[in-house]
Assembly symmetry: C2
Homo-oligomer: 418 residues x 2
């Protein structure tokens, strides 16, 4: 205790056995918190890390593929040469230059001045939502969508206008057009164009072209979440929306899936006219993105390691995808459908109307120590179809465990359907 | 370009000479953005880093005192032993344990379960604001206050009920009582109890006791921003509000000023009942706090370096404070008043009614390459007194440059007053 006065003051406060005061306050919370649904993702993160559990649950990259040694070397170089790597600082220009190059590999031409650095894609989404959304505003999104997107917009209590997702061609762009032509002017349209989370689909080229045309015609921006786009397994991946027509596309990129999640570095590509306002929103949120991480990533990229690393990731994840698809074909009962993703890390499985995947998860964790995410976790609002679906991740699990895990899951599925 | 189709699509889009498409969109922004004031802090950050400028502007710690070598060693240990340091992960329990110990040095008893890790104090503030503030809600704050606090609450367009600050004893608690007893029930009261930014004052003990009593009586939480509290220069520092009565105090702590800003690690101490909702808000904002940074800080703390490092910081900053105070006494014209802070990194100077410090800054940067922050930057709303004041930082500038810088500033002040 710094002062005896404070000691005597504190002794007057009720305390539990440990001497720590009890009687915590229950402050009045903002109204939007009433709509909070407990996050399945955080719960899964805890369950799925229990020893012995085979987890197909979260969208985690493979930790054994992180270039830890090269990053450690980069970190030491950064700290050894420049203690100001630990100081507050403006965003690193050299990292933006590298991102311009990386984006050209993805078919997107952009300038440094259009790049805004963030603490990962989730923050990019959250900052854009703060900038674009008034309380109660409308947004267009698919019926089943990344839960983190829902969390990013929830504080504004928006009205989400949903459109279906086709399992082969992605977002229903006819439905988007119907909304816009009937007069709806949402704050933005949310799109995961490649490696859709959770459905695993990549949007067809003609839909991409039509979607950016609609955005332009109706002057509604598209928030394009490209967290998975660099993980493509086909020989000729399509460019993201931003690569087709940049004018109304606000692009969200990230190093989380292509380098390592917990450097927490991502980026936005947006009109220069948004930069000042974005800086204010960012400063109010967390001042700036960890300079140490920025410099470490820039030093790693400077070494020219990324293209080779991406080849390694794509080859290994393609192997795991193939392993999972074969296991599904071999062990799952006939009549069950799943997606074969050309990008990303997810396979979406529809077990048909007989099986409730939320209940299945409970059994799977208890009986077989298998984790996945039940479809309902991704519903914007109740969706009967989602209850029979589940999302499987294939990037986080070594190929050797995938077949065994799918076999055990298949056993439970058969029992449920029997 | 990944596909030739996309190439032909893009060629149809207008582009500038560099081949990059022009015609950027101007999406409709959320209404609150209309009230955005351009941040003096970000602008200063750019100006103040120009070579040759002596900067008393920002609240930056001294980079030459960062324990860069020990942190580099910690980072390498972390990456060498465990690649999952780069993976998504729940908050690190061992770091929370260290924070419990650190807080006991500050006179605060708490449990691990009450600690929530953040990407620095600013994020702590922003997350709490999201959790507590409805659009248009009221909050109580002082008339002159940290600009980052204003940015954190701005998206909710709150009504800020202001109370004065006494230059010697801090926040006017009578004024707080008047507001509460007249029926106001703000979402929270914001307090920088020690080393106030920008005024440099630490609240007197009797005011601390009265403020927590008011919070309890009226059931209004206090958001206590303790970014500077560990940097105390007196033999018997007072405990923060949370150390006096924890019940209605939501405490915000940070490693930014006591270790290094750009690891971006801070913490909240809050009731356990808020943890689930805070996790949701955090997840929606940026998923989680960089595990790599968390582990690096934990490894550094494990080495037992912090108490010695804090002694070094306090001794050096006390020396710089003394240097600045002597220089002000020696070179500034008589009649000018300034604070002598017992904590923190700021001295608040009142030049009297003749001098507009916003104009002075322009001259100071041009003629003498001296940077400071003019008082008006901290106004919640127009405040004629603030126009004559300025904030000086003494932590970032080597002692050897302080006297010279103050001498040059004094020359300009005398010229302005002549």
């Amino acid at each position: 205790m710094p002062t005896s006065e404070a000691g005597s003051i504190r002794s007057a406060v009720s305390s539990d056995e440990s001497g720590i005061p009890t009687g915590e306050c229950h402050p009045r919370l903002a109204r939007w918190t009433k709509s909070i649904r407990k996050s399945s993702l955080q719960e899964m993160l805890l369950t799925a890390t229990r020893p012995g559990t085979v987890s197909f649950a979260l969208g985690l990259p493979a930790p054994e593929l992180f270039p830890a040694a090269a990053l450690a070397k980069a970190a030491v170089d950064v700290l050894g040469h420049d203690p100001s790597a630990l100081q507050y600082a403006p965003s690193l220009a050299s990292l933006k230059r590298h991102i311009v190059e990386i984006m050209s590999m993805r078919g997107v031409a952009c300038r440094e001045a259009q790049i805004f650095l963030t603490a990962g894609a989730q923050q990019g989404m959250s900052l854009l939502a703060r900038l674009l959304l008034n309380p109660g505003d409308k947004v267009i999104a698919e019926e089943l969508i990344y839960t983190g997107f829902q969390q990013a917009i929830e504080p504004a209590e928006p009205c989400v206008l949903t459109v279906p997702t086709d399992r082969l061609t992605g977002m229903d762009v006819d439905a988007v057009e119907l909304l816009l032509s009937s007069g709806e002017r949402p704050a933005f349209i949310y799109s995961i164009t490649d490696g859709h989370n959770p459905v695993g689909v990549s949007m067809s080229l003609d839909k991409r072209v039509r979607l950016v045309e609609l955005a332009r015609r109706y002057e509604v921006p598209i928030m394009e979440d490209d967290a998975y786009g660099f993980l493509s397994y086909d020989s000729a991946p399509l460019p993201p929306l931003r690569g087709i027509d940049p004018r109304w596309v606000l692009y969200i990129g990230s190093f989380s899936k292509i380098l390592a999640p917990n450097l927490r570095i991502g980026w936005l590509i947006v009109p220069e006219s948004l930069m000042d306002n974005l800086s204010i929103v960012k400063e109010g949120s967390d001042i700036d993105t960890a300079t140490f991480s920025q410099r470490t990533v820039a030093a790693y990229l400077e070494g020219g390691h990324l293209p080779g690393h991406l080849r390694t990731l794509r080859a290994e994840y393609a192997r795991r995808r193939a392993e999972m698809i074969s296991a599904l074909q071999e062990h799952f009962p006939p009549g069950i459908r799943w997606s074969v993703p050309s990008s990303g890390v997810f396979i979406w499985v529809n077990l048909g109307s007989g099986v409730d995947t939320s209940k299945l998860l409970k059994v799977a964790l208890e009986k077989e120590k298998i984790a996945f995410i039940p479809g309902r976790a991704f519903e914007v609002r109740e969706n009967h179809h989602a209850a029979n679906c589940l999302r499987l991740n294939f990037s986080n699990c070594p190929a050797s465990q995938i077949t065994d895990g799918i076999m055990r899951l298949a056993r439970l599925v058969k029992a449920e359907m029997a």
